[in-house]
Structures are given as C-alpha cells and as structure tokens.
C-alpha cells in the first residue's frame, strides 16, 4: 500500500502557472474568434477593479464563493469530494429565507442569529445526509451530492411557485416573502466612500468562517482527525479514529459552510429567496478549493480571483462585446490543469471504494 503524497504546503507555483496557462489559452481563443485578447482582458480587469464600486461588487461575489470554497475544501481535507456545495447553499438559503420571514417583527438581535442558525443547520443537515449515506450504506458521496443538487432545485420550484413559500412579488420571478428587517445584514461601506455599494456584513462572516476553517483543521483534535482520515483511511482507522463517524461530521461541516453562503445571499443581498437563486456558485467552489489547495489563504485568494473573473466578465461583454462565457472557458482550463495534480489523484484512488472494504 503506497502512501498517498499529500503535500499541501507546497508553494503557489502550480496554481499560478495553471491560471496563467488558462489565461493565455483563453486569449488565444479570443484571438482566433476575431477579437483582441489584450482588449478583452483589459476590459475584464476594469470590470472587476476599475472603480471602488466595481471592487465592492467583486467582493459581493467573492463572499459566497469563499464560503462554498471552504465547504468543498473541508471535505477534501478529509478525503471526501463534496460536489454538493451548490445544493447545500440552496437549502441554507431556503431555511434562512423561511425563518427570516417567519417572525418578521422580531428584533435583529434575535432574528439575525436565528436566521443564521437556520441557514447553517439547513446546509449541515443536507450535507450530513450525504455523509451518513456514505458511512452507513457505502454510497459514494459524489453520486449523492450530484443527485441532491438537482433535488433541491425542483423542491425550490415547488416551494416558490405553488408551495408554502410562494409570495406575491413584483419581479415576475417566483420568490418568497421578504425577510424581516432584523434578519438583514447591513451594508458595510457607507455612501460617502462607495456610493450605492451592495457590500454587506456577510464579508465579515465569511472572513470569520475562514478563520474558523483554519482553527478547526489545525488547532483542534477533530481537525487533526479529519486530516488524518484524509491522508489515509486505513492508517487513521489503525490510530483509533473511526473514519465513518468522521464522514458524517465533515459532510455536515461542509454543508454548514455552504449553508452559511446561502444564508448570506438571502440576508445580505436579496432579502428573500428567488427561484433560480445563486446558480453555479457551488460548482465554481470546486475550482476555488482546488486552486486554493484547500488552504485558508489559498481559498480566499482564489475566491477573489474567480469573483473578479465573474464580475469582470459581465463588463467585458458590454464593453468589448466579447461573450462573458470566455470566463467559463478560462475557469475550465484552470480546473483541467489542476485535475492532473498529484494532490487530487490521492483522493481519486479512493473514489468508488466503499468504506466497509477500506476500514
């Protein structure tokens, strides 16, 4: 049995090179399709960082990306592949949106923690199901979480279109009732600094969560055990750690991070739940976690990078008339390069092997 080589402390060389490689290849693609890649990337950069307002909009996108990225990363650390951050985010959003609108007149000091708890616990429960199915029935978490992602989308269609959360709204998109004022996260940038900024206190929660991620994994015995399980199921079992029990916990924690992302989208940004809400963050989160090598700082930086791509891409399309989908091409190329890395391979070796056989 050869030891999987998990060298997480490795420098940022490979991520940086893979991003540059993807940007060059993406530029080549822009050039072939008859546009100026320099102009495209300049527009992308301006869109993301061109003004204080643009920067604050980039950060608005970075907040859920960071949290969803932590969700994927914490599972990776324990050797599990959480494709379900998207679904867990949505469950968190639904739970937060429901609780936030349930008692709209409660003061913030009560309603905000309740809403937050609902979002985190909702996501944690959804993630925990995948962990439990893996631990108790040997069901691969990749399969479960993919199926869960789609399940919640259709449950939301029902909830918001003709189910119990349906509420009249002026925008034509099915949506829930607005949450109470007490559940709303305040805007953190005052108007005289950045006019009409949407950057909310969710960024503080996201940074605290990043700190919590670091503390959990490197300063607690649970974190030590999770990383041990991630390094090798058999070795951990021999050290007296029951990997199966840890699976439920780690998937619940992963779901909690994603659920917090969903709660923040509701409390900070939209103040209600929409149908088709925050699509895609959970998938980008996989790229964020992998590019950030599942380290707190790495995930933070790659969340910023992908947020800048996303925000910049929108402006690139309107300014330079180059489809914002270029950003997805670049992102896919980044992921594809990372896919070949040894770090990920170690997880791959365990994919498909039921726990019972391994422990």
């Amino acid at each position: 049995m050869r030891q999987p080589s998990f060298d997480w402390t490795q420098g940022p060389a490979i991520p940086v090179v893979s991003v540059l490689f993807a940007l060059v290849l993406g530029g080549l693609f822009v050039w072939i399709s008859g546009h100026d890649p320099i102009q495209a990337y300049a527009a992308l950069f301006r869109g993301a960082f061109g003004s204080p307002y643009d920067v604050s909009e980039t950060l608005v996108i970075a907040v859920p990306l960071l949290l969803a990225g932590l969700s994927v990363a914490v599972a990776f650390r324990a050797g599990l592949f959480n494709i379900g951050a998207q679904g867990q985010l949505l469950v968190g959003a639904v739970a937060a949106g429901w609780v936030g609108a349930l008692w709209p007149d409660l003061p913030g000091i009560l309603l905000l923690p309740l809403t937050l708890a609902a979002g985190v616990l909702g996501g944690a429960a959804y993630g925990g199901i995948a962990g439990w199915l893996k631990a108790a029935r040997g069901v691969n978490e990749v399969i479960t979480t993919i199926m869960q992602n789609y399940t919640i989308v259709f449950v939301m269609h029902w909830l918001l279109q003709n189910g119990p959360m349906q509420a009249p709204n002026a925008f034509g998109t099915p949506a829930s009732a607005p949450i109470g004022a007490g559940a709303i996260l305040p805007i953190v940038l005052p108007d005289f600094l950045v006019p009409s900024s949407r950057l909310h206190a969710g960024i503080v929660l996201a940074l605290l969560a990043t700190l919590g991620f670091w503390f959990l994994l490197w300063r607690t015995s649970l974190g030590y055990e999770l990383r041990a399980v991630g390094l090798g199921m058999r070795a951990a079992a021999q050290a007296g750690i029951d990997p199966r029990k840890r699976m439920v916990i780690v998937m619940a924690i992963a779901g909690g991070f994603a659920g917090l992302a969903g709660m923040i989208q509701v409390s900070g940004l939209f103040h209600r739940v929409y149908d088709g809400f925050s699509a895609g963050f959970g998938f980008d989160a996989i790229a964020v976690a992998l590019l950030g090598k599942n380290t707190p700082v790495g995930v933070l930086l790659s969340a910023l990078l992908f947020a800048a791509f996303s925000r910049g891409g929108t402006l690139m399309q309107s300014d330079a008339e180059i489809s914002s989908h270029l950003v997805e091409i670049v992102e896919a190329l980044v992921l594809f390069v990372i896919a070949a890395e040894t770090v990920v391979r170690a997880v791959a070796r365990r994919w498909g092997r039921p726990v019972k056989a391994a422990s």
């Binding site: 691969n140 993919i146 998938f283 992102e331 896919a332 992921l335 896919a339 391979r345």
Partner: protein, 312 residues
C-alpha cells in the same frame, strides 16, 4: 386517464427519455470499462451546438450529425487523455470539461448567433411515420411519429446489451472495469479498451445532444441540455449499469417528466398537484437504489480507479 396514460403523455415520455437513455448508454459503456465520465453532460451540449452549427454551415444533415459526434468524441478524448493517460481525478476532469463545454458553446452561440438566434432553415432529423399504426389507439399516437434517432437509440440498446454480455470483446471490456490487473495479465490492453469505451460514451452522449437540438427543438439555446447528462448518469445507476436497465430507467424518468407537464394545474382534493416534485423522483430513486433501499445497484469494481500497469 388521458393525462396519465394518453398517447400524448406516452409520446412525450419517449421524447424525454431518448436523450437521457443515450447519455445513460454512454455511461454504461465507459463505467463498465472502469472510467467515470461525468462530462457526458458536456458531450451532449457540444453535440447539440455543433450539430446546429454544421447544419447551418453545410446545409447537410449527414455532415451535421458527423460534426456533432466528432465534437462529442473530441471532448471525450480530452477526458480519456486526462483520466487514462495522466491518471487525473476523473471527477475534476469531468467537471472541468462540463464547464468548458458550457463556456465554449455559450461563447460561440453569443458570438455567432446572439443577434439572430440559430437559423430556422437548418436541416432537421426526420421523424419516422408509421402509417400502419395510425388507426391503433394510444400506441399509434405514442410511437407512430417519433424521430429517427428514437429508433436508432432502441437499436443501440439491443446492440450494446448483446455486445456487453454475449460477445468476447464485451466480456473483455467488462473485465477491464472489474479487475484491470487480471485483464492485463490475460493480455487485454487495459488503456486501449478504456480509450475506446470513453470515446464511445462521448459519441453516444453527443447523439443525445443532437436529438435535442436537431430533432426536438430545431435550434440551439445556451445550456439546453440542462442536466440531462446527469439524469443519464442517474438512469445508468438505477438501471444497474446495463443497457436494458438504463433504457428502462430513462423511460421511468421520462414518464415522470411527462407527467409533470400533463398534470400541471391539476387539482387533487383541493390542492394544486405539486408537479415540480415529480421531477425529483429520478434523483431520489437513484440515491435509494445506490444505498440498497430500492434493489441494489453495484458499480463495476474498478470504476473510477486509474490503472497503473506493472511495476509501481
């Protein structure tokens, strides 16, 4: 009764099941060889787009089908290189290729057709009219006027079922997915077998994509596969990694989908029937099946595990 088993619902079931079945068949072939390919969704999407693109540029249906399948093959080839040669993580590679397919097709769709939409005059896959069934109630309406691809799909199911379980090459392919080391010892080229299987899965999924664009819709729209490749994976699992099972599962899922349309707005005991929840059935059934609560689905033993030949 009409909304439950009328000809309209059954015809819709077949229409909705066909692309899912094709993706599922691709999944069966690749996973039986031991490679997980979640890029089937992406293969479908490039098939759907490049079919329309080639139909527009050449005006020829055979050329359109060929280009669509080549596009699926190209994406699958990237997955094969990553997964088999570089032994990369198959899920990450598949995710990357799905995002690539979505980005690439949406990018090209925007650059080429954003102002106009895809042209309405492109050649489409013809339907097969079964005149002799016209008078037969229900059956005539259900199968009497389906796309040629539906019948091709049926033929592929029969072929693959026989190929995998009744022929020597089929046995070899399965042995590579169950126990590559043993297969290798017996002189079977594991990598080569897996390459062919992954490529075949890309072609099958692309055919499913072309069915959506050049048969059902007559056009391309961004992300038009919308998860059909993933439902295909679910059908593959629920169908226990066999072609016939995959077809059966696709039909069950397709029927649920068809019902969610035909039962729209129908009231049951004073409540509007929650049709949206019908669409969750494929995913829930799949989880239950893999967990052993509904039957027992067992994946090929070496599924998803990269193979290193001797001497590591």
């Amino acid at each position: 009764m009409e909304v439950l088993i009328g000809a309209g619902v059954l015809a819709a079931t077949i229409r909705l099941a066909t692309p899912v079945a094709l993706a599922a068949l691709g999944g069966v072939v690749t996973e039986r060889s031991g490679v997980v390919n979640i890029a089937l969704e992406g293969c479908m999407l490039v098939g759907a787009f490049f079919g329309v693109f080639a139909a527009d540029k050449t005006g020829s249906l055979p050329a359109a089908l060929a280009v669509a399948i080549l596009a699926g093959l190209a994406l699958a080839a990237m997955h094969a290189v990553a997964a088999i040669t570089f032994r990369a993580d198959q899920i990450v590679s598949g995710m990357a290729l799905n995002i690539l397919a979505l980005g690439l097709t949406s990018y090209l769709d925007y650059q080429l057709y954003s102002s106009t939409g895809t042209p309405p005059t492109i050649p489409l896959v013809p339907n097969v009219h079964l005149g002799f069934l016209e008078k037969v109630p229900v059956l005539g309406g259900a199968v009497g006027d389906q796309s040629a691809i539906v019948w091709v799909t049926l033929a592929i199911v029969v072929f693959l079922q026989l190929f995998l379980f009744r022929t020597v090459p089929g046995l070899r392919l399965r042995s590579v997915g169950e126990h590559p080391r043993a297969a290798d010892t017996l002189g079977i080229d594991v990598r080569r077998t897996r390459y062919w299987a992954v490529l075949a899965s890309g072609a099958l999924a692309a055919l499913g994509g072309v069915y959506l664009s050049l048969s059902v819709a007559g056009s391309f729209s961004d992300n038009m596969t919308n998860g059909k490749g993933f439902i295909g994976l679910a059908a593959m699992i629920f169908g226990r990694w066999t072609p016939l099972g995959a077809l059966g599962a696709a039909l069950v899922f397709g029927y649920g989908d068809a019902l969610s349309v035909s039962l729209q707005g129908v009231e049951v005991a004073g409540f509007v029937f929650p049709v949206q929840l019908l669409s969750t059935i494929p995913y829930l059934l799949t989880i239950l099946a893999v967990a052993g609560f509904v039957g027992r689905s067992r994946m090929p033993a070496a599924d998803g595990q990269p193979y290193e030949s001797e001497g590591h």
